[in-house]
Symmetry: C2
Subunit: 227 residues, 2 copies
């Protein structure tokens, strides 16, 4: 019986999130949020991706690299559940787990051969910090992986959650056009840390190199500044 396994990154992802603050809490929540997967030199081989272009979605197994801890706790508090309800770590997708490996399905937009980085994958619907190490990429097999009628437990209670986003036009114009939709989607997901609900407070989220300042009151997020 195996006593453990040492795994090594095969790739890294680049996204518009340089900090954890504001990253969508599951893949697909911000459909437009894009990422670029760059392989490590050893794995930079077009053959390893042969016929991948026929799949619309792929699985990423990645490192919860900012969430490594020496110990593990049997329960966690999912941020969406109000901050007091504890569920089992194996009943959650929390990054704080015995083996800190994450699992995300993302849309495969295109495969590009580049001069600088060799073959790269463009994906969307990501929920990953820029620089996250990727351990494996697998094709999404709809007939094995898709269970549209699966029961989603407590997570079903909060899946419809969205904030209304008020983004004044003159501020939105400061964001590159191709990133506006993704940013709006991320804001609607409520970037605040769990358990925060201070209507007077101005929060800041770093997105694509810009600081987005906003307030939240009664389910409405209002962007108040960008720098």
């Amino acid at each position: 019986m195996a006593e453990g396994l040492f795994i090594k990154p095969i790739a890294y992802i680049e996204t518009d999130f340089q900090e954890k603050f504001g990253i969508p809490r599951q893949s697909g929540r911000a459909e437009s949020l894009s990422g670029r997967i760059v392989f490590l030199p050893e794995y930079r081989n077009p053959d390893a991706l042969r016929e991948l272009e026929g799949f619309s979605h792929i699985w990423l197994l990645f490192d919860f690299s900012k969430s490594h801890r020496e110990d593990w706790s049997p329960t966690v508090r999912p941020p969406r559940l109000g901050g007091n309800r504890r569920v089992g770590v194996f009943a959650s997708r929390s990054p704080f787990r015995p083996n800190p490996i994450g699992l995300s399905s993302v849309r495969l937009e295109r495969i590009e051969e580049t001069e600088k980085d060799g073959i790269v994958l463009h994906v969307s619907g990501v929920d990953l910090l820029s620089g996250t190490p990727i351990y494996d990429i697998k094709p999404y097999l709809p007939f094995s992986d898709s269970h549209p009628d699966a029961l989603g437990g407590y997570a079903e209670e909060v899946k419809e959650f969205r904030l209304e986003v008020v983004f004044p036009e003159e501020l939105l114009a400061m964001i590159p056009a191709e990133k506006q939709t993704a940013l709006m989607e991320c804001l609607a997901e409520d970037p605040r840390p769990a358990y925060h609900d201070e209507s007077e407070r101005i929060y800041s989220m770093l997105f694509a190199g810009q600081d987005i300042h906003f307030t939240v009151e009664k389910g409405v997020l209002t962007v108040v500044g960008i720098d």
Copy 2:
């Protein structure tokens, strides 16, 4: 940036397959094939599973423990594609990959508190060798994980594949009633190694401690003996 991660099993699964021969090639292919997940003592904690019972499906991240190799090959030959077509390892679910971690979604049938093994999970639709180390268990979130319209690439070409199974009644009676359906499903998946197609040959598959002998000719698998 993380340079790698050492992961340790949290659990093992017990199934009716003591050998690799005949294991279905994806989860859910043999819906009735059941497994029992036993946690290692350190993780044998009901709190770690709190609220898991609300989910109908779970993800297993597991060790392809019989498929470790020193090297990796950029391409693999999926058994269903006839044995000559090579696809990229990251376009396949092959066990022979840089980090030999497998991913399966299985149905969570029930959670049982036992005297001998503590809390155990009963699952179905498995595709795992008995004794396979499990690294992580995550709830299946239908709104993030289910993409029924995803394009399944080359794998779509062969997803309908099934053999017709002829299982004489007197032989079927030798199999415990509760295991008959699962066995029939596994046989329909064609347990033969890839590239084998010898109609005269008698193949043997070890299932639940019994040797199932069969032949295959023109899409029909016939069970010819059990011992």
